[in-house]
């Protein structure tokens, strides 16, 4: 069985047409994810909520029963899917976040929290775009530490603390 030259050309054109989108997709820049970390000290010292935590104060007060919430650190990092980004947090904690994939409105990622040298927690999860995961519990100064981890595929994140005024103790 032989193919005529016209049929062969048509076949090549059709295959090229099908292959081009895939090739273009493979060449596309990996999707970027911005990770926002707010480190908060929560305590029962009746000092109220730090004004820099205004965007998330209602959430914190709704989730936990502390009388004091103070922002002790704010970090942001942008990374490509598949690449890990590391943050040094107050209290000797280190946080590694590796976005793995973007599936619709969800961002799949791996999060590892270290307490100095010791891995405290490793988790795989899918976080909604602009959603937050809160990791809390470790003791910090006169209270406890609450780490709010947010991820976004866009430019802004609605629940982050005021970065310009945030500092690290």
């Amino acid at each position: 069985m032989t193919l005529r030259s016209g049929s062969l050309a048509s076949l090549i054109i059709a295959l090229t047409a099908f292959a081009m989108p895939g090739f273009a997709h493979a060449q596309a820049k990996p999707k970027q994810v911005t990770v926002y970390i707010d480190s908060v000290m929560a305590a029962d010292t009746n000092e109220g909520t730090d004004p820099r935590l205004a965007p998330m104060s209602a959430k914190l007060r709704g989730l936990f029963g502390f009388s004091t919430y103070s922002l002790i650190g704010h970090n942001e990092g942008q990374t490509d899917c598949g690449k890990m980004v590391a943050f040094i947090l107050p209290g000797g904690k280190i946080l590694h976040v590796q976005p793995r994939a973007i599936d619709g409105d969800m961002i799949a990622m791996e999060i590892v929290l270290f307490d100095g040298t010791r891995p405290m927690m490793t988790t795989d999860l899918k976080l909604k775009n602009n959603g937050t995961l809160i990791v809390g519990g470790p003791r910090y100064e006169q209270g406890m530490m609450i780490i709010s981890i947010g991820a976004s595929t866009g430019e802004s994140h609605p629940m982050q603390a005021t970065p310009a005024e945030a500092n690290t103790r």
């Binding site: 959430k59 709704g62 989730l63 598949g82 690449k83 890990m84 980004v85 590391a86 943050f87 040094i88 280190i94 590694h96 590796q98 969800m106 791996e110 929290l113 270290f114 100095g116 040298t117 010791r118 891995p119 405290m120 927690m121 490793t122 988790t123 795989d124 999860l125 899918k126 976080l127 909604k128 959603g131 937050t132 995961l133 809160i134 990791v135 809390g136 519990g137 470790p138 003791r139």
Partner: protein
């Protein structure tokens, strides 16, 4: 600060958590400042994950029963076979007696425990009706409160929990996870261990 050359030698072991604590700390701190090593670690992680995903798992369904059956088929001395047969007979007789005893004990316990309720059920009167009515009223009140609470909450959908955790590993045995759909947050709580 350690050089990238030294750190890169330890990245594989770091990914597998096989380093000594001081080495873990050294690598973790280096990674927090070095994009190059962070990228290499990401590659290790991706490679390991991909290898794990393609590694075939042998099918072990029926393996143990096949081994036991094969052992059973091995030739045994006559005395051993007689001994086994006697053991099986004794076991079946013994287990039959044990089962009968267990069933009888459960039946007796059921009768003892259910008798007061059976009497109460038989003597059910106007008081029971009142308590049911009160319970219904309480349930309606509770439902009303829930409805009011729901109405006062933010408008986020109830199933919108924002995070779907597929794996969580921690040496902390007191770790707790809960979802707050109305606040769009999932919480992982790791209390310090004493």
């Amino acid at each position: 600060m350690a050089e990238c050359g030294e750190i890169s030698m330890m990245l594989g072991a770091f990914e597998d958590s096989e380093l000594e604590p001081n080495e873990m700390q050294e690598v973790a701190f280096h990674l927090a400042r070095c994009e190059s090593c962070t990228g290499i670690l990401g590659d290790y992680s991706t490679l390991g994950r991909n290898l794990r995903s393609i590694a075939p798992e042998p099918k072990l369904a029926g393996f143990s029963s096949a081994v036991v059956a094969r052992v059973e088929r091995l030739p045994q001395p006559v005395l051993t076979r007689i001994e086994r047969w006697l053991w099986r007979q004794a076991h079946s007789v013994g287990s039959g007696i044990a089962w009968s005893g267990a069933v009888a004990a459960v039946a007796v316990a059921t009768i003892i425990l259910m008798t007061p309720y059976a009497e109460q059920f038989a003597n059910r009167g106007p008081h029971s009706t009142t308590s049911i009515a009160e319970t219904g009223h309480e349930a309606a009140t509770a439902a009303n409160q829930v409805a009011q609470a729901t109405a006062s909450e933010p408008t986020m959908a109830d199933n919108d929990s924002h995070a779907d955790i597929s794996r969580l590993e921690s040496e902390n045995h007191s770790v707790a996870v809960w979802s707050e759909p109305r606040r769009g947050t999932t919480v992982i709580w790791l209390p310090d261990q004493p």
